[in-house]
């Protein structure tokens, strides 16, 4: 698909669509992926707050989380910070 020309581009390089980077899936960057052992998870949400990419989603009010592999870059901070070692980094 060819890129738009100057006539159709928004004026002055403005990006009118907030959060459009969601169209860019950084999940392909990973070498290792975090896997959550839901049995061990204490719903502390530390992994959620420390994720640089916001790739850990909160599923409910109780602290249940899931990892959004579309964007997870596999940095491993979640696994490192989890106080009960419920997350392990697995080679992809």
């Amino acid at each position: 698909m060819s890129k738009p020309g100057w006539r159709s581009l928004p004026v002055a390089g403005i990006i009118p669509k907030a959060g459009s980077s969601l169209e860019y899936k950084t999940g392909t960057w990973r070498a290792f992926k975090p896997v959550v052992d839901e049995g061990k998870c204490t719903f502390c949400l530390l992994c959620w707050i420390y994720c640089p990419d916001g790739a850990i989603k909160r599923l409910d009010n109780k602290g249940k989380i899931s990892i959004d592999y579309d964007y997870c870059k596999g940095c491993g901070i979640c696994a490192s910070e989890c106080p009960v070692k419920a997350i392990s980094m697995v080679e992809e």
């Binding site: 969601l22 860019y24 950084t26 949400l45 707050i49 640089p52 940095c75 901070i77 696994a79």
Partner: protein, 313 residues
């Protein structure tokens, strides 16, 4: 929130929404990314962000993608505080003329490069003029976006591409600039250090800073795995070590009154921090052990000075 009150918010109470979203191109494990995400949890959608040129700005707005879900503007490297001043003035003028009802937060993000060095003039001017805005300096301790060159925030001894450890000179020769000291000298209502590893302290500080009717500054340590040379999963751990060795003390200054927020009573020796990062590797050589001693001496000196400042009325 009352002034000076420390509100302990649990993680569950924090807003679920992110105003800087996934899909940005910051490195895996990026400290500044965490700093920005946490700050916006505190600030919420009623916020305008001014961003200086740097890692955060470049990696979140590669045309046609943007990671920002709040109004955002980038102009140049050294003028985030000046642009923020103009925005604040416009809001005042338009509000007085009944042309505007919104009263958004204004947050200026600048890296240590865009704040300590090239941005210090604009920051000083904005602080002196008393504009109501929050300046957050995300400190990864070098000009990281251009390839790890030293800044005024680079710590003594660190290796960067413009302060490389060579046969004659072992890394950066100068001490880190005291940004909060400079900010406080302007008589502003609130200035504080923070570290992304202490999410509650940092997020509370952002919220608190935004409540003042004047300029506020937060200096948040944001470790950089690529530039400091550690594994991408250690970002939070290293931030914690910086605080636990007293290398980066966590304190706030409200109308000139210093208050220590994290009292490190049993500090780890600085070597525990230094040995974790590749940028300090050359310091572990025997001929450079005097540098580590100097760093430890300086950390102790600064800590005692900070305690004295905190004890003053």
């Amino acid at each position: 929130m009352a002034r000076g009150e420390r509100v302990m918010v649990t993680l569950k109470e924090l807003p679920v929404e992110d105003y800087i979203v996934s899909g940005h191109r910051m490195c895996a494990g990026c400290g500044p990314a965490i700093a920005a995400r946490m700050a916006l949890k505190a600030a919420g959608p009623n916020t305008i962000v001014v961003n200086a040129t740097g890692c955060l700005e470049v990696a979140t707005t590669i045309y046609p993608y943007t990671s920002w879900k709040i109004p955002w503007i980038h102009v140049a490297f050294e003028n985030a505080a000046a642009v923020a001043s103009g925005i604040e003035a416009a809001i005042k003028a338009l509000t007085r003329k009944n042309l505007m009802k919104q009263q958004p937060n204004i947050i200026a993000f600048g890296g240590d490069g865009g704040t300590f060095d090239i941005g210090i003039q604009a920051l000083s001017g904005a602080l002196e003029r008393g504009h109501r805005f929050l300046y957050i300096c995300y400190d990864n301790e070098a000009y990281m976006n251009t390839g790890i060159q030293r800044s005024g925030a680079t710590p003594l001894g660190a290796a960067t591409t413009t302060s490389p450890p060579g046969k004659v000179i072992p890394g950066k020769k100068e001490w880190k600039k005291d940004l909060i000291g400079i900010a406080v000298a302007h008589g502003i209502p609130y200035a504080a250090t923070a570290c992304i590893s202490y999410w509650s302290d940092y997020i509370n500080k952002v919220k608190k800073a935004l409540s003042f009717n004047g300029p506020t500054v937060i200096h948040v340590l944001s470790p950089c795995q690529l530039g400091w040379r550690f594994n991408s999963n250690e970002t939070i751990k290293i931030g914690r070590l910086a605080v636990q060795t007293r290398i980066f003390p966590i304190y706030e200054v409200e109308y000139g009154k210093y208050r220590l927020n994290i009292n490190v009573t049993k500090p780890l020796p600085v070597i525990e921090y230094i040995k974790t990062q590749g940028r300090f590797r050359h310091l572990l050589e025997p001929q450079n052990s005097y540098i580590i001693e100097n760093i430890q001496k300086n950390v102790d000196l600064q800590w005692n000075r900070l305690l004295k400042l905190c004890s003053m009325e």
